[in-house]
C-alpha cells in the first residue's frame, strides 16, 4: 500500500503548500487527486516521488520509506509527469531501452512490451526520431510508453491526458484500467472530471493544500451533505466553499 501520513510540505520551509495530508492508495485501486490549479496536487506527487522533502509526516510503500530502501522504493513507482521530460540526445527507442535498463527488464520482455506499446500509441514510425522534433502530444506519449514499459507496482500520473489525441486518450484510459485490474495502485491527478469518474474508485479533493473531501463518490456526497451531487458539482462546491 502507498501510504501518505500527515504530510506537510512545499517548496519552502516557511510557506508550506500542502497541509497535513493523509490518504492511501491500495493495490488494484485508482485514486483521483482533484483540485484547482495550484491546489497542491503536483506538490503532493513530488513529495511521494521524493523530489521534495516533507516538513513533517511520512510516505511509505508497503511499509518502507524512500530513505530506508531507496532502490526498492523507486523500483515500485512509475511516474507520468504533466510536462514531458525527455533526454534530447536520445531517440524514442533509446528512451525505452534506457528505461528498461534502469528497471532491469530482460531483453525478451522489453522487446515484447515496447513493440506492443509503440503499436498501441501509433509511434512505430517515430521510434528512431529525436523527441525535440515531436509535437507535445507525441512527447507526452514518450512518458506514457516509458512508464508502462516498467509495470511498476504503483503509478503516479499527473494530468496525463493533456495534449493527447483521442486515440491516445482511449488507449491510455484502457491501459490504466488494465493495470488496475492486474493489481497496480494508481494515483491520478486530472482536471477532466468525466474521465476521473470513469477511472477512479476513490477521490482526494484538495483545496488550498488541504483535503476538502475524500473517499468514494458516495462518501464525498455525505461529507458534503449533497446526496445527489455529481463529481463535478462536488468539486465546484469545494472550490466555492459551499460544502463547509
Amino acid at each position: 500500500m502507498l501510504s501518505i501520513q500527515n504530510i506537510t510540505g512545499g517548496y519552502s520551509r516557511t510557506s508550506p503548500v500542502i497541509h497535513n495530508l493523509t490518504f492511501q492508495v491500495n493495490p488494484g485501486e485508482t485514486v483521483g487527486l482533484i483540485g484547482l490549479n495550484g491546489a497542491g496536487k503536483s506538490t503532493t506527487m513530488k513529495h511521494i516521488l521524493g523530489l521534495l522533502n516533507a516538513h513533517s509526516g511520512s510516505i511509505t510503500i508497503d511499509g518502507s520509506t524512500l530513505s530506508d530502501q531507496p532502490e526498492d522504493f523507486r523500483s515500485k513507482i512509475g511516474y507520468i509527469p504533466e510536462m514531458p521530460l525527455f533526454y534530447p540526445e536520445l531517440t524514442l527507442w533509446e528512451h525505452l531501452e534506457l528505461t528498461a535498463s534502469a528497471y532491469g527488464l530482460s531483453d525478451e520482455i522489453f522487446h515484447k512490451r515496447a513493440e506492443q506499446l509503440l503499436q498501441q500509441f501509433q509511434m512505430e514510425r517515430a521510434r528512431n526520431w529525436f523527441p525535440d522534433t515531436f509535437s507535445k502530444g507525441m512527447q507526452q506519449k514518450i512518458m506514457i510508453l516509458c512508464t508502462f514499459l516498467t509495470e511498476c507496482k504503483y503509478l503516479i500520473v499527473d494530468e496525463p491526458f493533456v495534449g493527447l489525441d483521442p486515440i491516445a486518450i482511449d488507449e491510455l484510459a484502457m491501459l490504466l484500467q488494465q493495470r488496475k485490474e492486474k493489481g497496480t495502485g494508481i494515483l491520478i491527478s486530472t482536471h477532466i472530471l468525466d474521465m476521473a469518474e470513469k477511472l477512479c474508485d476513490r477521490y482526494v479533493c484538495i483545496h488550498q493544500g488541504n483535503i476538502a473531501l475524500a473517499g468514494t463518490i458516495q462518501e464525498m456526497r455525505s461529507q458534503a451533505k449533497r446526496p445527489h451531487a455529481t463529481l463535478h458539482e462536488l468539486f465546484i462546491s469545494v472550490v466555492k466553499g459551499d460544502h463547509r
Partner: protein, 408 residues
C-alpha cells in the same frame, strides 16, 4: 522595418558586450594569456621552421589555394534569428529584407575580417614561394570581393531550402566556382578572365531567378543562429565556465552504432552517458581538439622533450574536464527517479573515462612515434606514464564524485 532594425542592432550590441566581458575575464586570468602566449610563440617557431625546412618542390600554391577555397566557400551568413522570432517576427516578414541586409553587412564584415587575418598569416608563405607583393595585394582585393559574393550565394542557398542531393549539387556548384575564382585570383591568367567573370554572374542570375519569390528561411536561420552561438560559447567555455548553454544535438549515427555494439545495455548510466557524450556534450569535441593540439605541437616542434611534456599534459587536461559529464550536463528528472544508486552512476562515468583515457593516450603517443621524436621503447614508457597519470586523476575524481550531491 523601424520596429526591427533596433532589435537586430540591440542583439548585436548585447552579444558583443557579453563577448567583450568574457574576453576581459579570460585576459585578466593568470593562466590563459600565458598558455596562449606560449602557443603563439610555438606556432611562430613552427611557421618559421616550415618556411625554411620544407623543400622548394613542395606544392605551396596548391596548399594556399586549398586553404583559401575552404575559407571562402565555408562562409556562414549569421541571421540573428532566435526561436521566439518564429512567433513574434513572423507577422513582420514583409519588413525582413531590411533585417537581412543589415545581417548580411555584419556577416560580410566579419567574413572579410577573418579572410584578412588568414591572408595576413599566409603572406610570408606567398612571398617566399609564390609571388610578388604587388600580385598579392591584387589577389587580396579580388579575394575580398569574392568573399562577399560567396556570402551572398550562401544567403540565396538558404532561401532555396534545398535538401539531399539537390543541396549537395548546390554546394558543389559554389565550391567549384569558388575554387576556380581563387585559382584565378592567385594566378590571373588573362585567358581565364572571361570565364572568371561569366561564371559568378551566370550563377548569380540563376540563383536570383530561383529565389526571388521564396519565403524567408525562418527555421534554417533559427537553427543556424543557435549553432553559431553554441560554437562561440563552446569556445569560450574552454577558458571560462558558462552555464545554461544548450548545445545542439548531433546524431553521429555511425559512432553510436559502434558504441551500441561494444558497450553494455544493462547499465543505464553507461548507456546514457555514452550518448550524452557523443551527441550533446562538448567533451567529445574536447577529446579530439586536445588530440589535434598535442599532435600539432609534436609535429611543429621537433624536440623530444615537447612530446614528453605535451602527452601527459594533454591527458590531464582531458580527464580533469570529464566530471562535467555528470555535474554540468543537464539531465531530466528521470535520473533521480530511476531505481539505480548514485554509486552505479559514478562507476559508469569512471568506466567511460578510463576507456577514453586509454584511447586518447594511445592516439597521443602515436604522433611522436610516427614523427620519430621518440623510439619504440620510449613510446611505450610514455604511454604507460600517460595512462598512469590519467587513471590516478580518474580515481581521485571518482572519490570526489562519490561524495558529491551533484550526482543523481
Amino acid at each position: 522595418m523601424k520596429q526591427n532594425k533596433p532589435l537586430l542592432q540591440q542583439r548585436i550590441h548585447i552579444t558583443w558586450t557579453k563577448a567583450t566581458r568574457i574576453i576581459t575575464l579570460i585576459a585578466s586570468g593568470g593562466g590563459t594569456p600565458l598558455v596562449l602566449g606560449i602557443l603563439l610563440i610555438g606556432f611562430y617557431v613552427a611557421y618559421q621552421t616550415l618556411l625554411t625546412e620544407l623543400p622548394a618542390t613542395f606544392p605551396f600554391d596548391w596548399v594556399v589555394w586549398g586553404i583559401l577555397t575552404y575559407i571562402l566557400s565555408s562562409v556562414e551568413f549569421r541571421p540573428w534569428i532566435e526561436k521566439a522570432d518564429l512567433v513574434f517576427l513572423l507577422p513582420l516578414e514583409h519588413t525582413m529584407p531590411a533585417w537581412r541586409k543589415t545581417a548580411f553587412l555584419y556577416s560580410a564584415g566579419m567574413a572579410m575580417l577573418r579572410l584578412t587575418i588568414v591572408l595576413f598569416l599566409l603572406y610570408p608563405l606567398y612571398r617566399v614561394r609564390i609571388g610578388t607583393s604587388l600580385e598579392w595585394w591584387t589577389a587580396i582585393s579580388m579575394l575580398l570581393a569574392l568573399q562577399v559574393w560567396t556570402l551572398w550565394v550562401r544567403v540565396m542557398e538558404d532561401h532555396r531550402k534545398l535538401q539531399g542531393f539537390s543541396n549537395i549539387l548546390d554546394q558543389a556548384c559554389l565550391w567549384g566556382i569558388t575554387a576556380f575564382l581563387v585559382f584565378w585570383s592567385l594566378h590571373p591568367y588573362q585567358i581565364y578572365t572571361v570565364l572568371a567573370l561569366f561564371l559568378p554572374i551566370a550563377h548569380s542570375i540563376w540563383l536570383y531567378k530561383t529565389t526571388k519569390t521564396s519565403q524567408m528561411p525562418w527555421m534554417i536561420w533559427q537553427k543556424r543562429e543557435s549553432i553559431i552561438r553554441h560554437r562561440w560559447q563552446s569556445l569560450a567555455s574552454w577558458f571560462v565556465e558558462l552555464r545554461g548553454v544548450e548545445p545542439p544535438i548531433k546524431k553521429r549515427t555511425w559512432l553510436i552504432a559502434i558504441i551500441h555494439r561494444f558497450t553494455t545495455k544493462k547499465e543505464p548510466f553507461t548507456y546514457l552517458y555514452w550518448r550524452t557524450l557523443i551527441r550533446r556534450s562538448d567533451l567529445f569535441a574536447s577529446f579530439y581538439r586536445i588530440w589535434i593540439w598535442a599532435a600539432l605541437f609534436v609535429v611543429s616542434l621537433p624536440y623530444a622533450w615537447v612530446s614528453w611534456a605535451i602527452t601527459p599534459l594533454a591527458i590531464g587536461l582531458f580527464v580533469l574536464q570529464m566530471p562535467r559529464l555528470i555535474t554540468q550536463q543537464t539531465y531530466p528528472l528521470w535520473v533521480k527517479l530511476y531505481p539505480v544508486s548514485a554509486r552505479r552512476a559514478v562507476h559508469s562515468w569512471a568506466t567511460i573515462t578510463r576507456i577514453l583515457t586509454a584511447l586518447l593516450g594511445l592516439l597521443l603517443v602515436i604522433m611522436p612515434l610516427v614523427m620519430k621524436r621518440v623510439s619504440y621503447i620510449e613510446a611505450m614508457i610514455l604511454l604507460l606514464i600517460t595512462w598512469a597519470i590519467g587513471f590516478v586523476i580518474i580515481g581521485w575524481n571518482k572519490r570526489k564524485l562519490s561524495h558529491s550531491n551533484q550526482v543523481n
